[in-house]
């Protein structure tokens, strides 16, 4: 799984680090607690040994005796978990508590008089041994080992209770920290989110540049993006002006040449043809070079406003013919397309419709139900239409300016080229509505 959101990544990484840290902390705390519990147990067992020493006696015969009833009641309960043994050094067990009946005594360690030896046995028991050199009034000395045993169950129970409390506590703290981390990330990354929203606004055409005050660390990025947008716009403008200048410098001499050939002789007819061909090629290549394609960062343009302007212009140009324009346009339709490119597409198609219509031209903009294309522009006329065989020639890829169908000039080749560049689609058919040509332009 690949996380695409920065805050998601940070949150996940933070959560993983926190789980590892908390697990280690839990393990260390649990060990410390167990160690403390064992220390406390050792102290308790030490008190029991002192208590046994206080009541133990050696009689004249040298026998060790202890009272039948001891102060600690657990010593009197069979299998209570607390047991006591007194054994002779390297010898047999001399005494055991009633609770130790049937319980195997712990093997005494090496005799060390006056030293407490705390051992955790493999049979899950804690044992405290204490070696004593007992001197009687008759100057006899005896060597005893007092051993007190506690089942590990007691400590384990305490540790388990601690562990449950510890981990539930750590989990709660972890959740609170995660939530706080989420809030902190949300607040910290809000400038990035704002910059993203502003870029979307630029794409929609609601803004022309990024704000200068997101966060100190992002100001450089925003400034550079603004510079890029401005430079891209300036570049486009400069490019267009250069092309216009180039067109001017190429076409004015062509106009002069054509003027010189006003009275056609056979040779001049050829020259006329060649000038026309040169002009068409120059025009076609310039139009292709000026095409911008999809320009998301430069925002949207309202194609309905442009269509209204084009029809108003056509009404002037075709004033004698006075075609009736049937406009089925929404109030506005923003599209990610360079203004000049759309003028070229719609201008050529509407010009052709006006040229070939008898009286009516219909222009419709509606939602398209096609892959990647959201806008459908339909231009229809009531003229003679175009035969299917000619259509494929007009729309065929690689059709050169000097090979276009007569009557359509380079316009349709440019339109087709532009629409392809925009990742759109152009479809020609007969208008069921008006009976003439119907062009459908699918735009992204």
């Amino acid at each position: 799984m690949r996380l695409k959101s920065i805050s998601g990544r940070l949150l996940l990484a933070g959560a993983l680090v926190m789980i590892v840290v908390f697990a280690l902390a839990g393990w260390v705390l649990e060990r410390s607690y167990r160690s403390s519990a064992e220390q406390a147990l050792q102290e308790t067992l030490k008190v029991q040994i002192y208590a046994l020493l206080a009541i133990a006696e050696v009689n004249r015969k040298g026998h060790l005796t202890l009272p039948h009833t001891l102060r600690e009641p657990r010593f009197g309960i069979l299998g209570s978990g607390l047991y006591a043994w007194v054994s002779q050094r390297d010898g047999p067990v001399l005494w055991h508590s009633p609770s130790a009946l049937g319980v195997a005594p712990s093997a005494p360690p090496e005799f060390k008089p006056g030293v407490f030896q705390f051992v955790r046995n493999q049979d899950h028991r804690y044992t405290l041994h204490y070696g004593v050199i007992w001197e009687t009034q008759r100057q006899h000395t005896y060597e005893f080992i007092f051993s007190v045993v506690e089942d590990s169950q007691f400590v384990n129970h305490q540790v388990n209770r601690f562990r449950a409390t510890l981990y539930s506590g750590l989990s709660s703290i972890g959740l609170v920290i995660l939530f706080m981390q989420f809030l902190v990330l949300r607040w910290s990354l809000s400038p990035l989110r704002t910059i993203g929203q502003d870029l979307a606004a630029i794409e929609r055409g609601d803004k022309t540049r990024l704000e200068p005050n997101y966060a100190r660390e992002l100001n450089g990025l925003a400034g550079n993006l603004n510079a890029l947008i401005i430079s891209e716009r300036a570049h486009q403008e400069r490019y267009r002006n250069t092309l216009a200048d180039l067109a001017h410098s190429l076409k004015t001499p062509l106009a002069i040449l054509r003027g010189e050939l006003d009275k056609p002789t056979p040779q001049q007819v050829t020259m006329h043809e060649q000038i026309t061909r040169m002009n068409d090629i120059v025009e076609y290549q310039l139009q292709r070079a000026a095409a911008q394609g999809r320009q998301k960062l430069l925002g949207t343009v309202d194609i309905c406003t442009m269509l209204r302007k084009i029809t108003a212009s056509m009404a002037k140009v075709y004033a004698d013919k006075a075609p009736y324009f049937e406009l089925n346009l929404p109030e506005q339709w923003p599209a990610h397309i360079e203004q000049g490119d759309f003028y070229e597409i719609a201008g050529n198609l509407i010009d052709n419709a006006c040229k070939w219509c008898q009286t009516r031209v219909s222009i419709t903009v509606q939602k398209a139900n096609a892959d990647n294309c959201h806008c459908l522009l339909i231009i229809e006329d009531d003229g003679p239409g175009i035969a299917t065989s000619e259509l494929s020639a007009i729309l065929g890829r690689g059709v050169r300016a000097d090979q276009n169908t007569a009557g359509h000039g380079i316009g349709m080749a440019v339109v087709n080229e532009l629409i392809t560049l925009l990742e759109g689609r152009l479809h020609g058919s007969t208008s069921p509505h008006l009976g003439g040509m119907r062009w459908e332009v699918y735009l992204p």
Partner: protein, 224 residues
């Protein structure tokens, strides 16, 4: 008809002037936007051909300024910029038609004639009165369906009077519309042209197509 050509390329300008003059137009020339604005404001023009790419200002600015000043003469843009955005911008600025360079001179003539005709409220390219017919495209004049030979200036006078049919046209207005600014004018010449036209159009003096309104000018009366 008197037209203004605003074009900075001198060779093309001279070609246009010669072509238009040959077809009966009185032609004024301006090579800069400033000169063009002056001529369009000061001269009684019937149409203007304006190049967009002028050295001092854009032709579009010239057109926009003329329209702001309520100068309503028909304007045809001459442009090397074939993109539709520029054509639409030109027409929006106030131009009436456009032509992309390099153009066919006959197309330029046809479009200019159509503009002038429309500006005078005439829907048809043929102007007529009684048995006289003047075709503004072929520039042929017939009387009772018989072709009539006219000199260039006779044609200009007849075309202007027919174009302004029903209006009284003074000698000075007629002079201004058939001669360009550089021509050495003599108002007596107009009387000579009118006299010759009357003889050619109505040799027997029956129909009397051109009226003289003493001290005011000439008129071809409107159809009853």
């Amino acid at each position: 008809m008197r037209i203004l050509i605003v074009e900075d390329e001198l060779t093309l300008c001279e070609q246009l002037r010669a072509f238009m003059a040959e077809r009966g137009f009185a032609v004024d020339i301006a090579n800069t936007a400033a000169d063009g604005l002056f001529c369009a404001r000061e001269y009684p023009l019937d149409a203007a051909i304006i190049d967009i790419g002028l050295p001092d200002r854009s032709g579009l600015e010239v057109i926009a300024e003329l329209r702001e000043q309520a100068v309503s003469l028909p304007i045809l843009i001459l442009t090397a910029r074939g993109r539709w955005q520029e054509k639409v911008e030109g027409l929006e600025a106030g131009a009436d038609d456009y032509l992309v360079k390099p153009f066919h001179y006959q197309e330029l003539l046809a479009r200019l004639n159509a503009l002038i005709r429309r500006s005078g409220g005439k829907a048809h390219p043929v102007l007529s009165h009684q048995n006289i017919r003047l075709d503004t495209i072929s520039q042929q004049v017939t009387v009772a369906d018989k072709p009539l030979e006219l000199t260039a200036y006779e044609y200009k006078v007849l075309e202007y009077l027919l174009f302004r049919k029903g209006e009284v046209i003074s000698k000075s207005v007629l002079t201004e519309h058939i001669y360009d600014e550089d021509f050495d004018r003599d108002s007596n010449v107009i009387e000579v042209f009118i006299g010759r036209l009357r003889k050619k159009l109505d040799p027997d003096g029956i129909t009397k197509p051109i009226e003289t309104l003493r001290g005011r000018g000439y008129r071809i009366p409107a159809d009853a």
